[in-house]
Each structure stands twice: as C-alpha cells, then as structure tokens.
Amino acid sequence: MVLNMDAINIVKTNYIKELLAKNEREDMRDMMSFRAISIDNGMIKNAEGSSQVDLGATRVLAGVKLQLDEPMEDTPNQGNLVVSAELLPLASADYESGPPSPVAIEFARVVDRGIRAANCVNLESLFIEEGKSWTVYVDLYVLNYNGNLFDAGEIAAMSALLDTRVPKYEDEKVIREETSGKLKIDNIVTSATFAKIDNKILLDPTENEENACDGRITIATDKENVRAIQKGLRGGFSSKEVMDLIDVTFNKHEELKGILKKSQK
C-alpha cells in the first residue's frame, strides 16, 4: 500500500478511538476477547517440530530444529534454547527485506523470555554426553501481519515445541530420520497482550488498534506464576492496571492451554 501512512493512520486511529468511546472494537469483539485461534502442527516435516498459528488474520509459522552443539561453559550439563524471528516482507506492505529490525528482535526475545523463565523446555534432557548437547532453535516466521505478534508467536513457539521430536544420536552421529522421543516439555506458558488506547485497555490488538495505542503490555504466565512481562511503546500503566491485567492473563491461561493441548496430534 502506497498511502501516506501517517495520514491514513491518523484517520484510522480516530476511527478506533471513536469506537472505543462507545466500548466497541472494529471487528465487534469484546474488550477482553481473543480473535479466533487456529493451530496446525507438523506441517514442516524437515523440521523436528513445527506449528502454524492463525490469530485472527495474523499468521505465524514456528519451526524447530535441533542442532548438535557444545554445552555452554557455565552450564556444562544441559543444552540450549535459541528463539529467533523474521518479519517476512510478504507478511505486510510495511515490512522490508533486511536484517531483523528492533521490532523483530524484541518479538523473538519476549517469546523466548516466557518460555525460558517458565522452564518449559527441559534443558538437562538436551545433554548427551560430556562436551555434547542439543541446541533447540525456534524460528518464528511471520507470514501475515494484522497485529499482536507476541501472542501468536508465543502460541506457535509453544505448540511447535510440544510437537518436537529429538533426533537419534548414535555412534557419534546424528540420525535425523529417526527419533529418540519427544522433546521433554516440563511446563506450558501462555501470554496475553494488551493495548491501551485513551485509557481503555483491550486484549489482542489488531494492526489498526496497535497503531492507535499509547502503550502496550505483554504478560506471560504459567498456571501459578507470572513468568515474563514486556511493557512497550510510550504510554504508561498504573500498578492497579498491571495487576488487573495479570489476573486476566491467568484467566486466559487455562483456555489457551486447552487449545494448545487439543491441537497436538
């Protein structure tokens, strides 16, 4: 789209705000509802695990590959997890080719944080023998963008990890065609991202809502604990708001966990 983005964003932002003044959203959702979520696991057979998630029109494909590696010096008895992301230029007229932008990097690091802090991947199970361990690479590929990469990415990463099989390691060789079993997942983390527009807070913002918002906050929890939080953009939140949103995230956790489990083949 060639449009003068500032000018059209102003128009769309005014529209979003007008609707919010009546507690309405552009797709007629409730303030605290997710868009429709669909999960398709295992489509990339070359990968050790994969999952394609649609959160409304936002589509993220997560691929997991295990690489034979050396444990890190300070953790000699476990393997590693690396999460990366690419905002593919085919996902939006506003995405450009090139090295990962700060938006892509923040996206990858926030998704990583939730999974790591909740100890979802059992890193000790990735240890093979002295000097040898697996590194789990999760790559988030954004295929279509309409807001809220964080939650789409978190679900995709979590689902792909649940779908992941560890390759067989025998006689000093990786035999990818065979597996020694599923990747050991000890915990499930889910996230909820909120946008604040004119002091109203809504869950799972679309692209237009993100462009209209003052502040944004992503909260990741497992069943009992808050595991990661990322507040983004310029606007601010009060302590009460943060606590209320943590409660909403805990409430949504069971629902999202159910959707994740159901999608596992």
């Binding site: 990339i44 990968a47 589509r59 295929l143 990818r176």
Partner: protein
C-alpha cells in the same frame, strides 16, 4: 557436486530411489492467493518442497530516485527458512546461493511482465522456502508466476520451471535433494509455454550435445503438465466468479 566416495546408488534395478520413472515429475499441488495482505500469492507443494510465493505491487518504487520513469522495476528475493532443511539448522539472511537464485528468477519475470504498463513503479516478488527437498528454485519460480497472475500483474505468459539432470547415462527430470547432491549434472529450466521459450537455464556438470537436446525435450514435454497445474490453481480460485457471471 558431493564427493563420489560416499555416493549412494541413485538408481537401483533401473529405477530411481523414490520409484519414479526418469521422465516423471513429483506430485505438485498449488493454491492461489492463500495470503491476505500480499497483492498476490501462491503456495506450492512440489514433492516434499513447501514454498510460499508472494507479490506486492505495482507500488511506488523506493527509494524514489532509483525509480525508472519508463517502466516498472522488478525485485525478487528467494530465501530458505532456517528450518527448511532435513539436516542442519540454517542461518538466516541471504547467502551467495540465494542471491544468485534471486537474480536469475528476477530476470525471467523482467522478460514476461509488461514493465512499460507500470512506469515508475516497483513489483516485489518474495519466494520463501518453508521446506526444501531439491528443485526449490524451479518450484519457487512456478509458484511466483501464479502469485504474479493472482496480483493482476500484466504478463505475456505464465512461466513454469522444471529441472533435469544426468545420473550416469540416464537423464532424469526433477531431482529431489539426494539426487541433487549426487548427480553428475543438474539443469533448472524455466519456460514460457506459449512459444516454449527458454527464459532460465543454468547447468553444471557434464552433458553431451545429444544429452542436452534430449534433456530440453524432456522438460518441454513434462512442462505441459506443470503448466496445467498452474492454470488449474488460478481457475479454481476464481471458478465461482465465472459460474456466477455466466448464470446471472
């Protein structure tokens, strides 16, 4: 070409490893316009290849000072996802191979797209290999053609590509990854089917003149089927439009 010391036998009892005949192309499925934001797109499953092609444009050329006031500029980016390979985790970002592939594919479309219909603009083609198993540039190009058509870009023809190569004395179409790695010669070819005009041809290894001639013939013959699949994908996506207008 991989070393011939651990070369697996690509042909056993006169048949290829996956049971295909020498002139048989793998199964192909194409879906037109699967993406919402892109102006045009296509998803192709070709054997075990899974590739997404998308088009944006014609749109304003950026940077503006590089726009060509007489015609459209075509940009093409071919890349492979880090999880696309059966073996190692790949590195992101362009490498020399993907840059070269992007260039030769771009040149195919610079031929068939009617560039002067969109002066001063830019047409962007993105080819993302989500899963690769040999012949990704042919599959990617075949999908990109469909994506361009679904974006309404003006073109002379709907180009397809198929690769052909040599294993010992046998010419064989459409190598998968293993065949690709251990073959004696490999040649991707893109064809504009209306006049069977060759718009992409790359080759390495060794082929006699007669083998070259036979190889090109094999491509053109098999290409008819590939072209049909492309056309069917586009027709399927708009079938109801035709029905409605005729019935109405």
């Amino acid at each position: 070409m991989a070393s011939s010391s651990n070369k697996p036998e690509l042909i056993k009892n006169g048949k290829r490893l996956d049971g295909r005949a020498f002139d048989e192309v793998r199964d192909i499925k194409i879906t037109a316009a699967p993406l919402k934001n892109a102006d045009g797109s296509a998803y192709i499953e070709w054997g075990n290849n899974k590739i997404l092609a998308a088009v944006y444009g014609p749109r304003e050329a950026t940077p503006r000072h590089l726009a060509d006031p007489s015609k459209a500029i075509i940009k093409c980016k071919y890349s492979m996802a880090p999880f696309s390979s059966l073996s190692e985790h790949g590195r992101t970002g362009p490498n020399r191979r993907s840059i070269e592939i992007s260039k030769v594919i771009k040149e195919v479309f610079e031929n068939v797209v009617m560039l002067t219909d969109f002066p001063g603009s830019e047409i962007d083609i993105f080819i993302e290999v989500l899963q690769g198993d040999g012949g990704t540039r042919a599959a990617g190009l075949t999908a990109a053609s469909v994506a361009l058509a679904s974006a309404g870009i003006h073109m002379k023809d709907l180009v397809y590509a198929v690769s052909v190569g040599r294993i010992g004395d046998h010419l064989a179409l459409d190598f998968n990854m293993i065949e690709d790695n251990y073959s004696d010669s490999d040649m991707p070819v893109a064809v504009a089917p209306r006049n069977d005009e060759i718009l992409l041809l790359q080759m390495d290894g060794g082929m006699t003149r007669e083998q070259m001639s036979d190889a090109l013939e094999m491509v053109i013959k098999a290409g008819k089927k590939v072209s049909e699949i492309q056309r069917d994908a586009l027709k399927k996506a708009y079938a109801s439009e035709a029905k409605e207008k005729n019935g109405a």
